[in-house]
């Protein structure tokens, strides 16, 4: 007496179901394949979408979700901020730091006969620069006049080091010489990044094209933005106020919406798979009509017949769903690697989608098996055996 036989004896319904499913291998496999397709589409779209979303969220958050970006609004007379405007903003936000910057295009005169364009960012003070971007190498002077700070990429692209001199001009102005005193650490992408940072006092006009309010948290940034909008934009749009938290929320909403829509399409394919299972099971109970009649005659209860047939549908569903999750995993890992930098960085949402896809696949199969099972169990054995 084999161990397998003894073990099988404790789950006889499953044994009977396995026997029956393997009798119509091709039909069972096709029904399972339909479930597989549905599960793969839900799992890949759902879990991949989650990876994309959290990847993008991480990126956006790393670029200053605690900041509020303020630009001159369309209803202003001037397209820049003056120091008075900045004072007004500062008054509204209280003790929170405000950093005003100006971006310009400049010419870098590498040699007397050659110049190239660089992006310049004028910042008020060394402290302000430190507040908006970390410094990797070098020291910023307390009084910032003739010194320049360069981005890490700019420094490495052009072989610049601290102590080098940069000859820079803007517009019609004459060439000024700055000494490189510090290099920023990468990455310094995001809003208002530039190649070369210069002191605001080097600007003649002291006109600022943007300001950044530095708050302590994403929530505080949202509150501050609301405060600024309320103060300045009650009747006219004097300021354009951006903060990433509300953008993040919007982004999350949009991505969730798209994801739900796509997962919904995947779910429809699972429902179609359920129809395939119902069809397979219905064919099985019609083909096995007499056999089921015999089972009822020899003492199988209606409940036992239902359990065996539901187990068959469940087995087909579980086989398809398992294969689907196994196939979906590498695809989700590719998405994890692409969006989160680590193939194993499964987010809770992604794991949820994988589990839900599996559960939905099995659940739909059981649901699809219910009617055929009920029908088979309720046929009178006398009718089934009459032929």
């Amino acid at each position: 007496m084999s161990l397998r036989h003894r073990l099988g004896g404790s789950v006889p319904v499953l044994v009977a179901a396995v026997r029956n499913v393997s009798r119509a291998k091709l039909r069972s496999a096709l029904a399972a394949a339909a479930i597989l397709i549905g599960v793969v589409s839900i799992a890949v779209v759902g879990a991949g979408g989650e990876a994309f979303k959290s990847g993008q969220l991480q990126r956006v958050e790393s670029q200053g979700a605690t900041n509020v970006y303020v630009f001159p609004g369309p209803d202003r007379e001037r397209e820049y901020f003056t120091r008075e405007d900045l004072a007004e903003i500062q008054e509204t936000v209280g003790t929170t730091g405000v950093v005003a910057t100006t971006t310009r295009d400049g010419q870098w005169h590498r040699r007397s006969d050659r110049s190239e364009q660089v992006s310049l960012n004028y910042v008020e003070s060394a402290a302000a620069l430190r507040a908006i971007t970390p410094v990797a190498r070098g020291e910023l002077p307390s009084t910032w006049r003739r010194q320049a700070v360069v981005s890490a990429r700019f420094a490495s692209d052009h072989g610049l080091a601290t102590g080098d001199r940069l000859r820079i001009s803007t517009g019609d102005e004459s060439v000024q010489t700055y000494r490189v005193v510090a290099v920023l650490s990468e990455p310094t992408g995001g809003v208002g990044s530039a190649e070369v940072y210069l002191p605001a006092r080097a600007l003649d006009d002291r006109q600022y094209d943007r300001a950044r309010v530095l708050t302590g948290s994403a929530d505080e940034a949202e509150l501050t933005a609301a405060l600024l909008r309320e103060e300045f934009n009650e009747r006219r749009d004097r300021l354009l106020v951006f903060e990433l938290t509300s953008l993040l929320r919007l982004f999350t909403q949009v991505v969730n919406g798209i994801n739900t829509f796509l997962v919904g399409i995947g779910a429809i394919s699972l429902v179609v798979a359920g129809v395939a299972i119902a069809n397979t099971m219905l064919m099985a109970v019609i083909r096995r009509r007499e056999e089921i009649g015999v089972l009822r005659a020899v003492g199988y209860s209606r409940g036992a017949v239902v359990r065996i047939l539901l187990a068959e549908a469940g087995l087909i569903g579980a086989a398809g769903a398992t294969a689907g999750v196994v196939l979906a995993l590498p695809a989700v890992m590719v998405a994890n690697a692409a969006f989160l930098g680590d193939p194993l960085a499964f987010t809770p949402g992604a794991v949820g989608y994988l589990a839900a896809a599996f559960a939905f696949g099995v659940g739909i199969s059981l649901l699809a098996g219910a009617y055929p099972a009920w029908r088979a169990a309720n046929e009178r054995p006398v009718d089934a055996l009459r032929g």
Binding site: R6, A297, V298, P381
Partner: protein
């Protein structure tokens, strides 16, 4: 019909009527039949097709209930049993040998015999019993053969072993020798005799075969749903 020294019947029917409705018409398949099946008895039911033989067999096997009249099992009216109880009673007391055997084609002879007890969670005992029964019907060397590897007589014997796996008191056989040659038919009839003498199993068979009818203790002739002669 019953006398004092005869044992109590396993199954008794009184004025049993069974009607079917087909296409707006009511067909009376059994028209007031009385019967009693006693332990170890061999009863042959004969009659032309449409005379109600199969209907009677279904009623005896608790697969069906009468439209009127009583079918009693151990003194209880079976029409008061619910579906579950009828099923359990069928399993405990009745063994069926179907005319076309109805073996499951993908299972071996041994597994087919085990089917009625598959859900009992006693795999070891069931296997022992099934093996013993197949050996008894002379198929000890065919345990692992699929039905399509067996001859008609061998299938019949597998079906008989399956009917016996739950130790029934009543064995119902629909044309048990119908498709068999005389020798094979004889071996089936011998097996019935053994079961009756050893285990007091009552055998009721529906047959067209006069040879089987001659071997029976009692012959019930059905014509147009009534017992004649």
């Amino acid at each position: 019909m019953a006398t004092a020294d005869e044992p109590e019947p396993i199954l008794r029917g009184q004025d049993v009527v069974r009607e079917y409705r087909t296409g707006g018409q009511t067909v009376r398949a059994l028209d007031g039949v009385d019967f009693a099946i006693r332990p170890a008895e061999f009863v042959a039911v004969v009659g032309p097709s449409g005379s109600g033989k199969s209907t009677l067999l279904n009623l005896l096997g608790l697969l069906d209930v009468p439209t009127s009249g009583r079918v009693e099992l151990g003194g209880e009216d079976v029409s008061t049993f619910d579906q579950g109880r009828r099923t359990r009673t069928r399993k405990r007391d009745v063994g069926f040998i179907f005319q076309s055997y109805y073996l499951i084609p993908t299972l071996t002879a041994l597994e087919n015999v085990e089917v009625p007890r598959l859900l009992d969670r006693t795999p070891v005992e069931t296997r022992e019993r099934a093996t013993e029964l197949l050996e008894r019907v002379g198929l000890g060397d065919r345990l692992d053969h699929a039905p399509d590897e067996l001859s008609g007589g061998q299938k019949q014997r597998v079906a008989t072993a399956r009917a016996l796996i739950n130790d029934p008191n009543l064995l119902l056989a629909d044309e048990p020798t119908g498709n068999l040659d005389r020798d094979t038919g004889d071996s089936i009839l011998d097996l019935f005799d053994d079961l009756r003498t050893e285990q007091d199993v009552a055998v009721v068979t529906v047959t067209h075969d006069e040879y089987v009818a001659d071997a029976a203790d009692r012959v019930v002739r059905l014509i147009d749903g009534e017992v004649r002669g």
